[in-house]
Amino acid sequence: MVGRVLWIVGVLACVVAVGLFGAGAQEVEDPDAPVDLRFTVWTGADSHLQLLNSIAEDYSQENPNVSVEFATIPFADYVTNVTVQLAGADKPDAGWLVETNAPEFIQAGVARDVRSEAERYDMDDWFEPALELWRDGDRLYGLPFSTSPFLILYNVDLFEEAGVPTPRELSARGEWTWERFAEVSQAIREETGVYGFQTMDGQGFDIRVWHTLIPIMRSYGTDVWDEDNNVTLNTPEAVQAVQLFHDMVFQDESVVPPGDRSDFYVGDAAMTVGQISRVPQLEEADFEWSMAVMPEGPAGRGDVIGQAGVVAYSAGEHGDIAADFVGFMTNKENVARLAEFFPPARKSVLESEEFLAANPDIPAELMREVVADSIQVGRVLTPHVNFSEIDLESRGAFDELWRRDADVQAALDRVAEVIEPLLRQ
């Protein structure tokens, strides 16, 4: 009897052991064995996914055993989810990576070197500054698929209704400054009752707080921190810049305030900061819209580029194939296709007539004026190797800033205090 019991227990233990560890057993790789690559992205827009899928299909034509599946993770949770997935059993193979987190991911060894794969596709064609973020010595940890300047999207109908000149008209007259921006925003609020401005995707007081502050601070001649990791977001120029915006939100009340869901894309605000990847959201808009460059400050234009790259995750199971796909995805032909939504960092594409016509909803002259020219002069969002922590730890201090009675200088000093040690780590 005891023997039988032991036998049953033994079998049970084996079943559990096989179940637990069997999955981890490595099989010998057969070059023609079917491979499913999982590629993480933060877009859920149909038009974006259709384009990505068509690139994946072309890749499968050349490599019949490989299929690529795009997995959408919302932007707000992207870094967290990718990190957790990479630490888990079902690891993604490749994906998008936003510039602000690039140094951190590269230093942590999350992205793998893709130089040899990239070299198959004319490396000299890349616009040199655009690769800076992705390079470390001889190694290349990713390739930019989107080098997309921030721009002002605006609702032409609301400007007409309020009887104020549009950003593009002001820009043509050389009057498109942050002060004028604040004035038209207030005029629209007063004349139409609709908010004049909404921060980028309505997230500008929390997860996109840097996207709100960096453009205005740069055009006032400063930034959130400098190249030597000194905090500069509480300098007199920075305070002046933020004060202007703070007054717009809390005195003029012309900006969609924190916690409110009024949305530019459905007509609840007259202007917002966007990129051309946002244009598909305007497909069903029942108002006429257009776009302009960002306003100028005392130090001129502070063009900001939001950059995103494609990387192959070093933890992924099919590293070589993933790296190969990353190279393929950013070859000349595919960068030209992506240019409909994601402005290119390849010179040949950027300088082509096709790029200016890449998005049927955007006239060529706008594409040149607002997008192509800004790419040449713009700088990427200010990165840091400790970005996740800086971003999250500072949010508490920023909440103090976004109060009606806030002392802008004091609030920014407080933010500076929080991020200073993190910048130096």
Binding site: T80, T83, A87, P257
Partner: protein
């Protein structure tokens, strides 16, 4: 082998499948958390080194945010538990008698319990918006300018507490209702004949009878309030500032937002110890305070 021994062996075999699952999926991770709490681990790099009790030293002596978090957790529990229990008991008493329409009201108060917590929190976030929120629009009818509920420190905490009370009230109400209905009617009859009024009947008949239930509801509600996460995550993300950062949200923040898995594990150990101690304390209190436990 004796019959008894044989029986016990087959008994163990029957529970084996479930127990193996428990070992692998519950006990294993708990033990792992204790081990991780002694390490410096990064979710991002996958590196880990043994650092002894340094995580705990940091928590109690260096990390000011930990103390803020503990205070917030206590404020949350201190607000939620009494409000929830008092309302649940009050409703149970009011709805225990067979008046017309009790079924309807019982359903109304229980409905939030079966509602998806995520949908509930998101809808409430809309209702509590500053200008366009229904709550403030309703207040403006009486010329009251409501605060930006989820964006101002004191109001944000109050909002999540009230929200959580409304969401889970129904469950405690039903448990109390069952207890109240089960008090034998002859005691009330006897008390009434002795001239006891309603307050005295509650004080001397109902309350002693439902004491075991009250203690159980207290344990569940208190432990639940220490473990609150979804409401905070969906409504305030711990903000504004750190005004609603409670312990479990802080564990999530450290572990999954800034990738310090070791430190997050140490925080989890503290949560485990607190909840365990509370449960033990109430278990012993329950034995002393309940006269009717069977």
């Amino acid at each position: 082998m004796t019959q008894a021994r044989r029986n016990s062996i087959s008994g163990y075999l029957f529970i084996a499948p479930q127990f193996v699952g428990f070992l692998v999926f519950v006990l294993g991770p708990i033990v792992a958390v204790f081990v991780f709490s002694l390490q410096s681990r990064s979710l991002l790099t996958g590196e880990s080194t043994f650092i002894g009790l340094q995580n705990f030293r940091r928590m109690f002596f260096e990390d000011g945010l930990f103390l803020v978090t503990m205070r917030n957790t206590l404020v949350f529990a201190g607000g939620l538990v009494p409000a929830n229990m008092a309302l649940a008991l009050g409703l149970a008493l009011a709805l225990s008698r067979g008046r017309r329409g009790v079924g309807f009201f019982r359903t109304v108060y229980f409905a939030p319990v079966v509602t998806s917590a995520v949908a509930w929190a998101i809808v409430w976030r809309f209702l509590l918006e500053a200008d366009r929120g229904l709550v403030n629009q309703y207040l403006s009818v009486f010329s009251i300018t409501g605060p930006n509920w989820l964006r101002e420190p004191g109001w944000a905490m109050l909002s999540v507490i009230v929200n959580r009370v409304l969401k889970n009230l129904g469950m405690n109400m039903v448990i109390f209702l069952a207890a109240v209905i089960n008090v034998p009617g002859e005691y009330y009859e006897a008390a009434t004949l002795e001239g006891a009024n309603a307050v005295q009947r509650f004080r001397h008949v109902t309350f002693p009878h439902i004491m075991p239930t009250t203690m159980m509801v207290l344990v569940i509600t208190l432990v639940g309030s220490f473990k609150v996460f979804d409401t905070i995550m969906l409504m305030t993300q711990g903000g504004p500032g750190h005004a609603t950062t409670v312990l479990v949200y802080y564990i999530y923040f450290q572990g999954f937002r800034v990738f310090r898995t070791g430190y997050a594990s140490a925080l989890s150990v503290v949560l485990f110890v607190v909840v365990f101690a509370l449960t033990l304390a109430q278990w012993s209190a329950r034995k002393r305070l309940s006269h009717y436990e069977t």
